[in-house]
């Protein structure tokens, strides 16, 4: 007879590290700081996800991916994935590893803690170019191809680039 062993929390977190943000496939939902908590009960695993930008269309997909990943953990039975705005997700929640990977992906990591650093022209003055690391950059627009991206131009390597918007 095989006895089912409920997974421990560490296994669930490990599985979540394999779930990527579909719009930024280099960074896991854990490194994005989107997982608020994980609760493992003998028959049930509950994961609370904090949506990044509230208008982000990837959130529903992320919710499904999280469910599938946790259901695949050996011993998992019922899985509940909840969305919450409490506390609000902010860019401060992105881990150091997450920031490194954003940059590798070609997206400048958010600077500072959002609105406080936003200058009167609309964006933090100091986005660092993810390609050449220069700080000699100009903000072009606070709105880019997705709700979470702003557009900059690097005067040093002459590349346009995007920054993950601080919120």
């Amino acid at each position: 007879m095989v006895t089912r062993v409920a997974p421990d929390e560490a296994q669930v977190w490990e599985a979540l590290r394999g779930v990527m943000d579909p719009e930024i496939p280099a960074v896991s939902v854990v490194d994005m700081g989107m997982i608020r908590d994980v609760r493992v009960d003998p028959d049930r695993i509950a994961v609370t996800v904090l949506p990044t930008f509230s208008g982000c269309p990837a959130v529903a997909e992320i919710q499904d991916d999280v469910r599938r990943a946790v259901e695949a953990v050996p011993g998992a039975r019922e899985v509940e994935v909840r969305l919450s705005f409490d506390p609000p997700w902010t860019t401060d929640r992105i881990t150091e590893e997450g920031r490194r990977r954003l940059k590798e992906f070609g997206l400048a990591p958010p600077t500072g803690t959002g609105p406080v650093l936003v200058t009167s022209i609309g964006l933090p003055a100091a986005a660092r170019c993810p390609f050449c690391d220069s700080a000699d950059t100009v903000a072009e627009s606070p709105f880019g191809p997705t709700p979470c991206r702003a557009v900059y131009y690097c005067k040093s390597c002459r590349n346009p680039f995007e920054q993950f918007k601080p919120v």
Partner: protein, 277 residues
């Protein structure tokens, strides 16, 4: 059924959905590519914000957020009439964008202190994102106000027209008394309206815009204050009060501009209600 909470949530959610729809009409048509992207992105944010607020209604009622957003009849919407007005030209679009986002900041600041946990969390979250809209609107108003005379004139015309209608964003809500008593709405609409008019008028003054812009708004504010929520019934063919048709959105009064917007906005949903995409 919690009528007070429902009225509070729907007013904010419907504003976001309807103005988001109007903003989205600039996709592919804005004067230049950055603004095309900006208005598309702002539209996406606003509709996302509406979704978060409809989510709270759905949670409370055990219903489907899409059905609340897109499955209602035109007369069941509760947005301010300002939000349903067509985009007209770039000057009007910018004037309304600024008036609306300034008002929204006043509203979200108050709702961030709501006694309702879900609403407080959502309002706090939305306000952080809305900063970008406000910065965008401020930047444009300043640019046009200090720019060449043609643009400035159009901006002034649009503000003069839209400001009185923007005041109606702070019309008293249905069941407002209860919402206040329970702390769902921590500050009366009346007081929010005063804060808004003051803040907007000060900003316009700093930009050297003429006082006529604010005059219509003051008249509208008085009109709303004196009618205390018991608003326009119907119009008997006579000319409405200055921007008189702009009032009553919170109790379901709609202008002729809403029907075509509603038809387009809900067309896909009505084709096959409840379908998943």
């Amino acid at each position: 059924m919690d009528d007070a909470l429902r009225a509070l949530l729907l007013a904010a959610a419907d504003d976001e959905l309807v103005i988001g729809h109007r903003h989205s009409e600039w996709t592919g048509h804005a004067p230049h590519i950055e603004e095309d992207v900006a208005f598309s992105s702002i539209a996406q944010d606003e509709i996302g914000h509406a979704a978060a607020l409809y989510g709270l209604v759905a949670e409370m009622e055990g219903s489907d957020p899409d059905a609340i957003a897109l499955g209602r009849k035109p007369e069941d919407y509760r947005h301010a009439i300002l939000c349903e007005r067509p985009n007209r030209d770039w000057g009007y679009t910018l004037a309304r964008h600024w008036l609306y986002d300034t008002a929204e900041d006043v509203r979200l600041e108050a709702l961030s202190e709501s006694s309702h946990d879900g609403l407080r969390a959502v309002a706090t979250k939305l306000r952080r994102e809305e900063r970008y809209h406000l910065l965008h609107a401020d930047m444009w108003i300043e640019r046009v106000a200090r720019g060449p005379v043609d643009g400035r004139t159009r901006l002034i015309d649009s503000l003069t027209h839209a400001f009185p209608e923007a005041i109606a964003l702070f019309e008293p809500l249905e069941s407002e008394h209860e919402a206040l008593e329970r702390g769902l709405l921590p500050v009366p609409s009346d007081e929010l309206r005063k804060r808004y008019v003051e803040r907007a008028a000060r900003a316009l003054d700093e930009l050297g815009l003429p006082t006529e812009v604010g005059a219509g708004a003051d008249a509208a504010a008085e009109f709303i204050a004196s009618s205390s929520g018991d608003l326009i019934e119907s119009d008997d063919g006579a000319d409405p009060e200055p921007a008189g048709r702009a009032f009553g959105g919170r109790s379901g009064n709609r202008s002729e501009d809403f029907q075509p917007l509603w038809e387009e906005m809900t067309a896909t949903y009505r084709e096959n209600p409840g379908a998943s995409w």
